[in-house]
């Protein structure tokens, strides 16, 4: 029935696409992509921007005109100029270089955080969905417990308890995203557990885990793919929020979230460029991930499109 579409992944309800048959893709994937892209130019734009972000993440440090860490007290808090496109911060560091270099870290934070919750959440959910019984109950309760926390507060607590390093921010983000994958995977696997092709695979002598891993799970992937891109955007926002309350990455690391959070204090005093440019970069990235999620949804789930 109702598939709930949201961008804030915390809200993503993992209602299964039960009614729909497993997507028949592969052969028509490319034509589907072309179709979606032409029908929905925003998706094309999103994929283009994503490619750009990846390029910047890879080559950013080479492209940066200044060192992102080098201070220059004579040039502190200078507005954008020809020399410093995005101005300089309170220590005279070049904001443009910092924004550029930060791309890699932010992309890594979001990719790794999401990858962890995808792998662990997906695995737990799949086991719960396939074996049911105690597996289902334990995973279900675990997921419910995490979901019952206000998610940002849980992330805050984890980072506060474990210390504010990049790794812990990644783990915290992974943990709070975990339930969504677990739920989707559980639902998707649960429906397919008794479908004819699974029975056939089982009858032909495959072990349970093999059936699960190679016959059922791949079919549960598409709806999770959508979730992934949405969560990646959210992971970055999450890191930014943590930075604002002082639980972000350690200085002098360049990271968009902490740059916005620290720059926010300079808005009222007129140094708008400190928060604006990293904020714009952050927004662009989150925006891209969200639109891409929409696009992916259209790709993997043609039924949804009218």
């Amino acid at each position: 029935m109702n598939r709930i579409e949201t961008t804030a992944p915390a809200l993503e309800e993992a209602v299964s696409s039960a009614a729909e048959p497993p997507p028949e893709k592969q052969s028509s994937a490319w034509s589907q992509f072309v179709y979606v892209a032409t029908q929905n130019p925003l998706t094309l734009v999103a994929f283009g921007m994503f490619a750009l972000i990846v390029v910047v993440a890879i080559f950013g440090p080479m492209l940066a005109p200044y060192s992102p860490l080098a201070s220059d007290s004579a040039n502190a808090l200078k507005p954008p100029s020809w020399d410093h496109w995005f101005g300089t911060d309170n220590l005279g560091r070049d904001v443009f270089s910092r924004v550029l270099v930060a791309t890699r870290l932010d992309l890594l934070i979001s990719v790794i955080a999401v990858a962890i919750s995808f792998v662990i959440g997906g695995a737990l959910g799949a086991l719960a969905g396939y074996y049911g019984g105690w597996w289902d109950r334990i995973v279900g309760r675990m997921v419910d417990t995490i979901m019952a926390f206000p998610l940002f507060v849980l992330a805050m607590g984890i980072v506060a308890a474990a210390g504010n390093t990049v790794e812990n921010i990644v783990y915290a983000t992974a943990i709070i995203n975990l339930p969504f994958y677990a739920r989707v995977a559980r639902a998707e696997v649960n429906i397919r557990r008794d479908s004819p092709y699974v029975l056939a695979a089982r009858l032909s002598g495959n072990a349970g885990w093999r059936v699960l891993a190679f016959h059922i799970f791949p079919n549960a992937l598409p709806p999770m793919m959508v979730q992934i891109s949405l969560n990646m955007g959210w992971a970055i926002l999450n890191a930014a929020g943590l930075s604002f309350i002082g639980l972000g990455v350690q200085p002098p690391t360049a990271e968009w979230g902490i740059m916005v959070a620290e720059g926010a204090n300079f808005i009222v005093s007129g140094e708008w460029w400190l928060a604006l440019f990293p904020g714009a970069a952050l927004m662009l990235a989150v925006f891209t991930f969200n639109l891409m999620g929409d696009g992916l949804r259209d790709l993997v789930d043609p039924q949804r499109r009218t």
Partner: protein
């Protein structure tokens, strides 16, 4: 709801939104006359300074709601601003006092007309009960009393209802000044005793929420986490009745919001003011910033003796020569302070404190010194900073990190949240390399050294131990300043500190408070709390 009705409702909302600016245009000037709006980034968590867990911002209550036997005087500085006068003690609840001939006790005469808020007279019994409480509850109040050699209830004697004597354990220059700090406040013991229980003989539960004092202001309203409202005590006898009728202390956690409120005139005063804001707000048309160097206080770099390389004096000195002081002062302190580097002589000429240490940025010297040690190729060290003070610690740490990199020392910055900081830095003393601050309430160098240079003492975050310093401190701590033995010993103490460098001073910070131009009479006190009785609105 049909469509028309819906439109009607939105119509009202829109009209309301239109009216809104009218209500919003109630800047502080337009607030009822005689009301002072103070915004602060810190939360006030108790009315009782004697309670365990009462935080520093709450001391403002001890200062304004209660009186003490004696208070510090106030003097005008050449620039027109006011500061407390450490050298002058003036009557508070006591109208006069006299030191006994043998110098081993002091007797106070309590004002005849002094009354608590409930109208009952202030008696020597109240004073004794309050002092007994301060030395008995343990924790901070008892420690502070101890600093003035006020340790046991037996020292406090009620002679008659209006006469009170303190017997000294030893002669100490710290005893009388220690009676004028916020801690020995005088509580209405009749009220308090009514709420005391066997489990809670000092009525800490009650007084935590309900002050019972005689001070210039009464508590009108306290919404924890939001605001504290004072109303003036119309019957205050210890001085002229305050000019301000009502004071609203509002909590505004965001620094940017505080600045906006001040600039827009919605608040009269704000503290703490970020260093950068203090520097910029002083040039605004409607605002002024009063910055007073905080007495007996320095921002320092701590070098922990538990960390092997820092056990070598030459390494410590190399660090001191490698720190980019000027840049730090400009970019982290925004010039709000007194430089504590670049001193002329390695032997101090005066006992002035704090005074600049004889170091400045000189990379060649730093490299040369480091080359004489086992660490000529440098080493790695975590540089820890207190997140709660990131206003100055973060830029400072980044600049130190850069400076040290030039002589091969690789520092990695580690931000530690405020709550953890105390444990890590002062209690466990485990931070190898850190930025720390300490200011002594009682303004003597020996008092500073007592806390910050003696083995095991709280603010000695470097684990420094030097028998000569220990001896010098114990010899000078109680000694009068005009004693001929005092100055030479202090000079020797400073000389050792200059050379041995467990702590490298950066600058003496300002107590910065920003306010509207029409706020007069702000007075700097060592406790850095707002003394509201002195404030006027013009």
């Amino acid at each position: 709801m049909d469509r028309r009705q819906f439109l009607k409702t939105t119509g009202t909302v829109a009209a309301g939104a239109g009216v809104m600016p009218l209500f919003s245009m109630l800047p502080a000037e337009a607030a009822p006359k005689g009301v002072l709006v103070v915004i602060s980034g810190e939360t006030i968590n108790s009315m009782d300074i004697h309670r365990k867990g009462t935080n520093r911002p709450s001391y403002v209550n001890a200062v304004n709601l209660y009186d003490r036997l004696i208070e510090f005087g106030v003097k005008k500085k050449p620039d027109g601003s006011f500061t407390y006068d450490y050298s002058k003690l003036v009557p508070g609840i006591a109208e006069s006092w006299e030191i006994a001939k043998d110098g081993m006790s002091v007797t106070f005469k309590i004002r005849k007309n002094a009354v608590f808020w409930d109208g009952s007279p202030v008696t020597a019994n109240d004073v004794k009960w309050s002092f007994d409480r301060a030395v008995s509850v343990g924790g901070f109040p008892s420690t502070q009393m101890k600093a003035g050699s006020l340790e046991k209830p037996e020292q406090f004697v009620v002679v008659d209802a209006k006469t009170f004597t303190i017997k000294f354990l030893r002669k100490s220059k710290l005893t009388l000044p220690d009676l004028a700090v916020p801690v020995p406040m005088i509580i209405n013991s009749k009220v308090a005793k009514k709420h005391a229980t066997a489990k809670d003989p000092w009525a800490t539960e009650y007084l935590h929420r309900n002050p019972a004092g005689s001070g210039p202001f009464k508590l009108e309203r306290w919404n924890p986490g939001q605001q504290v409202v004072y109303a003036r005590n119309e019957k205050w006898t210890q001085g002229p009745v305050p000019a301000i009728k009502r004071i609203i202390l509002r909590e505004v956690p965001s620094q940017a919001t505080r600045r906006a409120l001040l600039e827009r005139g919605d608040a009269h005063m704000a503290f703490p003011v970020a260093l950068k804001d203090a520097n910029e707000l002083k040039s605004k048309k409607n605002l002024k910033v009063i910055g007073t160097p905080i007495e007996n206080c320095m921002y320092i770099v701590g070098l922990n003796f538990k960390f092997k390389p820092f056990q070598d004096k030459k390494v410590r000195q190399a660090v001191a020569w490698a720190i980019p002081y000027e840049e730090i002062f400009k970019n982290a302190a925004y010039g709000r302070g007194v430089p504590m580097w670049g001193g002329k002589a390695t032997k101090p000429e005066t006992i002035e404190w704090p005074q600049p240490f004889p170091y400045k940025t000189d990379l060649d010297k730093a490299k040369a010194l480091l080359a004489q040690t086992d660490y000529k190729d440098g080493f790695e060290v975590p540089l820890s900073i207190n997140l709660g003070l990131s206003d100055w610690t973060e830029p400072t740490a980044l600049l130190i990190q850069e400076g040290l990199a030039k002589i091969g020392i690789k520092a990695s910055i580690e931000k530690i949240p405020g709550a953890t900081w105390r444990t890590a830095s002062l209690v466990e003393k485990r931070l190898a390399f850190h930025l720390e601050t300490f200011g002594g309430w009682l303004n003597y160098p020996d008092y500073y050294f007592f806390w910050a240079y003696l083995k095991g003492h709280l603010f000695n975050s470097s684990n420094y131990h030097n028998p000569e310093i220990e001896k010098l401190v114990s010899e000078t701590l109680y000694l009068e300043v005009d004693d001929p033995a005092y100055a030479p010993k202090i000079k020797r103490m400073l000389e050792i500190a200059f050379d041995d460098l467990p702590r490298i001073p950066l600058w003496q910070p300002f107590d910065d408070i920003a306010m509207q131009k029409n706020v007069e009479g702000y007075t700097y006190f060592f406790h850095r709390q707002l003394v509201a009785a002195n404030i006027k609105l013009t």
